[in-house]
Amino acid sequence: MTDRDFNHPIRLFRFVQPLLRPLSGADFVVLALMGVGLWAGVRLGQAVPEILQANEISLAPGVLPYYAVLSCGRMLAAYLLSLGFSLVYGTLAAKHRLAEKILLPLLDVLQSVPILSFLPVALLSFSAFLPLPVAVELAAIFLIFTSQAWNLTFAWYQSLRTLPRDLEEASTVFRFPAWLRFKSLELPFAAISLIWNSMMSWAGGWFFLMAAEMFSAGQRDFRLPGLGSYLQEAANQGSIPSLVWGLATMVGIIVLLDQLVWRPLLAWSEKFKLQLVESEYPLTSWFYDVLRGSFLVRALWQKTLLPVFAWLDQRLLTWFGPPGVRPAPETGRSWWRYLAAVVGVLLLGVGLWEVGRFLGRIPPGQWLALLEGLGATLVRVVAALVLAMAWTVPLGVLIGTNPRLAAVLQPLVQVVASIPATALFPVVLLFFLELPGGLNVAAIFLMLLGTQWYLLFNIIAGASAIPRDLHYTSILLRQSRWDRWRTLILPAIFPYVITGGITAGGGAWNASIVGEYVHFGGQSLTTTGIGAIIAQATAEGDYPLLLAATLVMILAVVSLNRLLWRRLYRLAEERYRLE
């Protein structure tokens, strides 16, 4: 270890980019993209209708780009809200024992609340202190938020609880300030899971976009200009060309987002993988390669953004705590905690009393109808799950065990899967309403459309995780096809089927609200089911019934999760996990 100090100035200098370099192909792509972006912006400005009436949804294809921007804006606002919420809520739950005891079960319940039940509540409370147009806009964003936030929160919480012990100890021993710990340890460790969950959240957001942008509560009809309301209006008027235009726009946006945002993010996030081995098949993205290869982008980054970030980083470092000396754990509880607990219990008591009085207004006959509806929806959920498994298990295993097929089919499946079922639903209805089952069967189909993908993707993942040697062993043993399925494939994918099933089941219950009660071609159609009751109660402003139906559905979903899914999950974890 010799002293070679004279080397340093030279080596330091190496980090500076050479300033003049010919533009690469990647730079041209970036330039072209910027040009297209500018053009689209100008076109958009021209396409905005002169007078926009909030209550009129235009079906002219020309307004679609404008509507799409509005919808994307709402989705983005809701997503940022979700992300902020997740970081705060998840951190509290992970770092404070007392908070964890309350926050975790609460989150469990929150995510089983049928999303659309949030809507009237949000709208009523927002309009109490805000002008109506703002309240409606906020209510829509809030509704989308409720479809995006919970899985992100869980992902963040899980990451914080599973931080590698040595890295955590290193951060503590080196006395990382709070900001540095967040930036260098917690966020990078959670990055991959956060990105995947963000993609899921956006898919959830698209699913409920239609419901969020156009709904009626009681006598009042609320419409927000956007892609969702466009599709719904098209369905209402039974206009096939408009439906096609709307769908095409939505698919286009989803594909664009996938190519320009999610794939690059995933490719970038490869570096956050924890294992200290290079992965054999890293995720790639052409757009990410373009951005990385582009001299222009790098120059922009280094000249403008990097200094800003460095400055911000330094500020945050000093704002958020000096090197943390952890305070000794509190042993005695201070009096204000007791006070807070007493006040909390009192408030809860008053709230429960009010809820009880509210529910008391419901005639006994309606309770029976509720139970009947619950049964009917349960049957549909089960049917949708069984149907989904019937086709996703064979196909998923086929794709998962065959890399060549996977390379061809995977991108295709991803695009198809990202089309929100609610947008397709009107088209599906056209077909099903002619059949004898009518909406009764169509609702199952909607659940299927919305949830089968969770199963498919999980099964593909499970099947591709089966070690090759086990396959070879099975072939060498000359096992029959059925024996191979029974002894190898089914046990290996079981944990993945369960994981997919939990998500799919939750989604199916939520879809019942959209699927069992629809406006189509100028009329309202309904079928027996708890989703129909919730949707109808919302539309008619029957709040006691809405509350009752929502509570019944939460109870059903939570107890199904606790009694059935969790047990299956534990069984899967203990018995069938391939290490």
Binding site: N7, D166, F174, S184, V277, P327
Partner: protein, 437 residues
């Protein structure tokens, strides 16, 4: 020596865990002091709480009772003058080599301009120039640990704590890195005033440290202090070196005690239940056969470790098992095969199993389990039931490992059977008929 300032002082430090309403002592009444200029090794078998002790000294963990003083002041929170080099390196995989060192400087509040040059200087000193922009996953284990050392030195700690820093490396990298560490330390190029090395490798401790603090388990405690007062550089072939290694082995291997003391008591009975070492029967048989082939059926334990290329920790566990089963005795750092051990080594497989079974039935924890099974309906019990019972004697994790070992040995001896899918432990039919012991 006595004039030098004391850095760390521990008095009567104990760490107690509670699980299921019972308490388990991980560390009991440890007194320890560390002076400026000292390189101290903390040596002991796995499970003796030496890593816990290191966490207590750095302030990562607060002991249940006792005093921890740093330069005479009680330690509150993380010790700002100490740092750790981790066994698992603990590098951030998403940061480059340079950034991994810089991040420690950043946490210390070093201004941005100085950080890069300081970090480059440190990487240079450990011989990593040229790898600044590499990610940890691109480096070999030895190079990763060099980054770990560079990062630790970046914060210029007074006390450098090394938590088994070489045990995850291959033999050659470990040896090279030990040499470099010594060079840094003896050269006085670093502001570090003392080094505390946690290890279970006896030769490593003798090679590096000025003083070896030897710990033992059940409960974790310091049993003695060995001074290594001959100067660096030390050679592994030096008689003084070999003599010291032999002495440390002697202390750690202890003496074989009379059988009733060696075996301890059964769970539920008064007294301490002897925990079985977690070793495989094949390794044990290998050791016994090796001894049988030696003249006089005896060997110096330290020499045995070299011959068998075995870590001292693993060898001591095998020896412990041989003592419990009565195959060998240990005295003065030498191991001698007993007559029974000799018979075992030369027997056919079925006879071996018979000998093993006879001896195993005398081990209290096995006797206890067989008794339970004989009393149980259809001579079978669920795993979790037995584990719950064992958790009255051992912490949950250790209870599980003990049960695993008992079942493993019991299967070999054909006393016990276990069905993994139903998680039920059975008595083998032959064993069921045998009279209760």
């Amino acid at each position: 020596m006595n004039a030098r300032a004391t850095l760390v002082e521990l008095s009567q430090v104990s760490q107690v865990y509670w699980s299921g309403g019972r308490s388990f002592t991980a560390i009991q009444g440890v007194d320890l002091h560390l002076e400026e200029g000292e390189f101290v090794a903390l040596l002991g078998p796995s499970g003796c709480g030496k890593s816990t002790l290191l966490r207590i000294i750095t302030g990562l963990q607060t002991p249940t009772s006792g005093w921890v003083l740093y330069r005479g002041e009680p330690l509150r929170g993380v010790n700002p003058y100490a740092t750790i080099v981790f066994q698992t390196f603990a590098l951030f995989p998403w940061l480059t080599v340079l950034e991994n060192v810089e991040v420690a400087l950043k946490a210390k509040g070093v201004p941005a301009k100085l950080r890069t040059s300081r970090a480059l200087d440190l990487l240079d000193r450990v011989g990593l120039d040229g790898f600044e922009s590499a990610y940890p996953r691109e480096l070999s284990g030895g190079m990763r640990q060099k980054v770990g050392f560079a990062r630790a030195m970046a914060v210029e700690p007074e006390l450098l704590c090394l938590d088994e820093p070489f045990s995850a490396l291959d033999v050659l990298s470990a040896e090279a890195l030990r040499g470099e560490l010594l060079e840094l330390w003896t050269g006085g190029n670093i502001p570090t005033k003392a080094i505390l090395l946690v290890t279970h490798n006896i030769e490593e401790a003798v090679l590096l440290a000025d003083r070896i603090v030897i710990m033992d388990k059940d409960p974790g405690r310091v049993i003695t202090d060995v001074k290594v007062d001959y100067p660096q550089p030390r050679q592994r072939k030096d008689p003084r070196f070999l003599d010291l290694v032999d002495r440390v082995y002697m202390i750690l291997a202890g003496h074989t005690q009379p059988e009733h003391l060696e075996l301890g008591t059964a769970p539920g009975e008064p007294g301490r239940t002897r925990a079985l070492p977690h070793i495989s029967i094949d390794d044990l048989a290998g050791l016994v056969e090796h001894l049988d082939a030696l003249p006089g059926n005896e060997a110096d334990i330290y020499a045995l470790a070299r011959e068998l290329h075995m870590s001292s920790d693993h060898l001591l566990q095998l020896i412990e098992a041989a003592e419990i089963l009565g195959f060998a005795t240990v005295a003065q750092g030498d191991i001698t095969l007993t007559g029974l051990g000799e018979t075992f080594a030369e027997a056919s497989i079925p006879v071996r199993k018979e000998i093993f079974a006879t001896r195993l039935r005398r081990v209290p924890i096995v006797r206890w389990l067989v008794g339970l099974l004989q009393a149980a309906e259809r001579h079978q019990l669920r795993w979790d039931v037995v584990q719950k019972a064992l958790e009255l004697e051992f912490p949950a994790e250790e209870a599980e490992r003990q049960l695993e070992t008992v079942i493993n040995w019991g299967r070999y001896a054909e006393i016990l059977a276990y069905d993994d899918s139903s998680e039920i432990i059975y008595l083998e039919p032959g064993a069921a008929r045998a009279a209760p012991l």
